[in-house]
């Protein structure tokens, strides 16, 4: 089920929440697990059994590991890790690997990837490692553990949550007024980002033919905005929903297009993924406490893996490697320069390089990548009527989109003339009601546009 649907917004959410309030405290976690599993089965009925098995398996295997010591502990940890990794690789890269090897000569069945796989497997891996390194104790309560893995707000597209980030709230939480207020507001804002902005940009993108500089520019720029509002919008919805039920999920985005370097960008974009790779791959490989050559290797490994996590086709590896190279260059050469030049230039530098990088993300084959790049640099003429018209027709969305990449909207109330808190509150609510109505009008009008990151 998608959060951006009339069904979820006006039927499922009200029901789930009201029931939650009525359920006695001791049973609230069990209730949430049932809701989350139903939620999963709605979107992926064929894999619900797989998902439940995976949870139960990890519950037992990690408790078992916690009982062991020394070599045994290490052995079982590695086995467990490999099993989880194998599941991810099997579903995700099966067709990609086969494609690479046999290239269309053999027919094979593509297994549909269980929804949310890339996200919850990474959650489980972080749990595996944290239990093994004794950072946390294996959770003894099956319900609580299941809730950790399956909690529906973060189930399909993250944020990727470590167990110690959520354990406290699993065991003891309450829905405070600020949490509920902020959560409800944040959910609607995320929904608006997805439905009004991301979906519109997706629709524009599907109409662009890249045959000139202007169309290539528009294509890249549109996707740059689309993927941000799609994924950040979803994260707002996930965190907002979590807040409504008394949870505080980790942040995932921090105005990434205002980053002052590529390294900074990756500390602002999909933050839970970045910190996963840092803590569970980069640092175990030695981090930056190694010689220069090893450092470059470590960085490249991390970034190529990051790219691969996003997709099984080669372009994703290229995308990851692209950032790997940029970050290596920054760490070795550019960092001082970037810190010295005026902020506006470093922001521009990051934005341009990141936007350009999206070409490798949304073009899945070499032909379309090379077409994009050659058109972008004038290989096919400067402008075409259609792309100019598309931009003119939708200029308002682009303007709102650019502004929404910054904290301007959020801080608007600070410049308001009214000092009266009550007036500000009322205006605040009025604005959100208007946003809700507009979002609903878009929801009702649009044909279904699925989340970009839900393919992972």
């Amino acid at each position: 089920m998608n959060f951006n649907s009339i069904l979820f917004l006006f039927t499922i959410l009200p029901i789930i929440f009201l029931l939650y309030l009525c359920i006695p405290k001791k049973l609230k976690n069990a209730y949430l697990v049932i809701v989350s599993l139903l939620f999963y089965s709605w979107g992926d009925p064929k894999n619900i059994l797989f998902f439940v098995t995976l949870i139960i398996y990890n519950y037992f295997s990690n408790r078992y590991i916690d009982c062991k010591k020394g070599k045994d502990r290490k052995l079982y940890f590695i086995m467990n890790l490999l099993i989880n990794l194998f599941i991810l690789i099997y579903y995700k890269y099966y067709s990609g690997i086969l494609d690479f090897i046999v290239k269309d000569t053999i027919h094979y069945q593509i297994l549909p990837v269980p929804i949310g796989l890339s996200f919850y497997i990474f959650s489980l891996i972080s749990y595996n490692v944290d239990v093994y390194t004794k950072k946390i104790e294996a959770e003894k309560n099956l319900i609580d553990f299941s809730l950790y893995v399956s909690f529906f707000p973060k189930l399909l597209m993250g944020p990727i949550t470590r167990y110690d980030e959520i354990k406290e709230k699993i065991k003891k939480r309450s829905i405070t007024k600020p949490l509920f207020n902020n959560g409800m507001k944040r959910f609607i804002i995320g929904l608006a980002m997805k439905v009004i902005l991301a979906n519109t940009f997706a629709s524009i993108l599907s109409q662009i033919q890249v045959i000139s500089v202007t169309s290539a520019l528009l294509s890249v720029f549109t996707f740059t905005l689309q993927i941000y509002f799609d994924f950040c919008g979803y994260s707002h919805m996930a965190i907002g929903l979590g807040n409504m039920f008394g949870f505080i999920l980790p942040e995932n985005f921090k105005y990434p297009y205002l980053a002052t370097s590529i390294s900074d960008f990756w500390r602002r974009w999909h933050m839970t993924l970045g910190s996963f790779f840092k803590d569970y791959v980069y640092i175990p490989l030695g981090g930056n406490r190694v010689g220069k050559i090893r450092l470059v290797m470590n960085l490249m490994v991390v970034w190529v893996l990051t790219g691969m996590w996003h997709g099984a086709t080669l372009n994703f590896m290229l995308w990851g490697a692209y950032f790997g190279v940029l970050i290596v260059l920054e760490k070795l050469f550019f960092r001082k320069i970037l810190e010295k030049i005026p902020k506006i230039f470093s922001i521009l530098y990051s934005f341009l390089l990141v936007s350009f990088g999206w070409i490798f993300f949304y073009c899945t084959d070499f032909a379309s990548i090379s077409n994009h790049i050659s058109c972008l640099f004038g290989g096919n003429g400067f402008s075409d009527f259609e792309s100019l018209f598309l931009f003119r027709n939708n200029w308002c969305y682009y303007l709102i989109g650019i502004i929404a990449c910054t904290p301007i909207f959020k801080n608007l109330y600070k410049v308001l003339y009214f000092k009266n808190q009550l007036v500000i509150n009322v205006l605040n609510i009025a604005v959100m009601i208007i946003i809700l109505v507009i979002t609903s009008s878009y929801l009702v009008s649009d044909t279904f546009v699925s989340f970009l990151y839900s393919n992972f």
Partner: protein
């Protein structure tokens, strides 16, 4: 966490609950008049349909289709988006004064040559028949200055007509419509032209006739919301559909629909008058073949190849032919030569609006068959 969102949660959630309750209370609708389709109904649950994901999809469609104030919300979005400066939604442009203009079809040189050659060949095969071409520009052509397009529809008009043989009579629809463009010659909300402009073109087509007839104008429907407005949920403007009835009672005619086994003594389908597609008051819509037999003396028998633009023009032709056969190549699969020889056709009229003419290939199919 600072509490600067006082009352936010409860207010927004209260709205969600209210809408939820409204959904439950209001009974399900069966059809949408505006969208001309049946609305999804509550699907039955079964384990297998849930496992296939079918139940989920159907249920979501059901919820969306039955959402209260659905059309109002859709038209709110259109209004909002228009206010934001959007000039085109799907393939519909916002012209001036509430006029909606459909994106024109741009034919390639090959397509134009193909069609022209087939029509010319048809004329050559039937040299004794008087052949007429009435190609009608759409709003995109007549009001081209109101929209932002890469090419001009009127350029294609001139180019195409120049490819037709001189033996074909070409009715100058372009100049006539341009001359009257300040009048209501097209519906604002629909892709069709009005009965008024059909009359102008009919007058031009019949200009050499001696007898002229006078007409009374009646309003068939003054709340017509046409295809273009419905497509983009645009509620700002309504159109008036007019019927022109001859003052004389001397002309009597009989209409048959041979493919459907129906007949009537009028070309007007009053059941469609107040339907959501009020334009269908003319003949009830499109038919594969319509035969009109009149009490008009003389030996003129007309065969018309047409699209729906012809529907409001044909009534003006009735007093001048003893027989009219109307063929819509999109639906007719019969033998044209059989009609021409069997009915002893004396005149042929191609009556098309440019978008359908260049967007459709059924005319080629039917001409190809007859040329064999």
């Amino acid at each position: 966490m600072k509490n600067k969102n006082l009352g936010m949660g409860i207010t927004l959630f209260a709205i969600l609950i209210s809408i939820f309750l409204v959904q439950i209370i209001i009974p399900d609708q069966e059809i949408s008049e505006k969208e001309q389709r049946a609305l999804a109904q509550k699907p039955d649950f079964s384990i297998s349909s849930y496992q296939e994901g079918k139940f989920q999809k159907n249920y979501e469609e059901y919820i969306e289709d039955q959402f209260p104030l659905r059309y109002k919300l859709m038209s709110l979005k259109t209004k909002l988006v228009k206010g934001l400066g959007v000039k085109k939604i799907q393939d519909v442009y916002f012209g001036e004064n509430g006029r909606l203009i459909q994106e024109p079809v741009y034919p390639t040189e090959e397509v134009m040559n193909l069609k022209a050659n087939l029509i010319n060949a048809f004329q050559e095969q039937n040299p004794d028949i008087i052949m007429n071409m009435m190609l009608i520009p759409n709003k995109a052509g007549i009001y081209a200055e109101e929209i932002d397009t890469e090419y001009q529809q009127l350029d294609f008009y001139d180019t195409f007509l120049s490819k037709l043989t001189d033996k074909m009579i070409k009715i100058n629809a372009k100049d006539i419509l341009l001359a009257h463009k300040e009048e209501k010659i097209f519906y604002d909300t629909d892709h069709h032209w009005t009965t008024l402009s059909a009359k102008y073109l009919a007058d031009e087509f019949l200009k050499d006739q001696e007898t002229k007839y006078e007409y009374d104008v009646y309003v068939s429907n003054n709340h017509f919301i046409g295809t273009l407005a419905n497509k983009i949920s645009y509620e700002e403007v309504e159109d008036v559909v007019e019927i022109y009835l001859p003052k004389t009672e001397d002309i009597v005619y009989y209409v048959t629909y041979p493919e459907e086994g129906k007949s009537a003594t009028t070309v007007y389908d009053l059941e469609k008058q107040y339907s959501s597609n009020a334009y269908e008051v003319f003949f009830g819509g499109n038919h594969a073949r319509i035969d009109i037999a009149t009490n008009v003396s003389g030996d003129k028998r007309l065969l018309i190849f047409k699209d729906s633009y012809a529907n409001c023009l044909i009534p003006f032709l009735i007093p001048y032919y003893s027989e009219i056969v109307v063929i819509d190549p999109r639906y007719y699969y019969g033998d044209i030569m059989e009609i021409i020889n069997g009915k002893k056709i004396t005149d042929v009229l191609f009556l098309y609006n440019m978008n359908t003419f260049f967007g459709d290939t059924s005319l080629e199919t039917i001409l190809n068959q007859s040329n064999e």
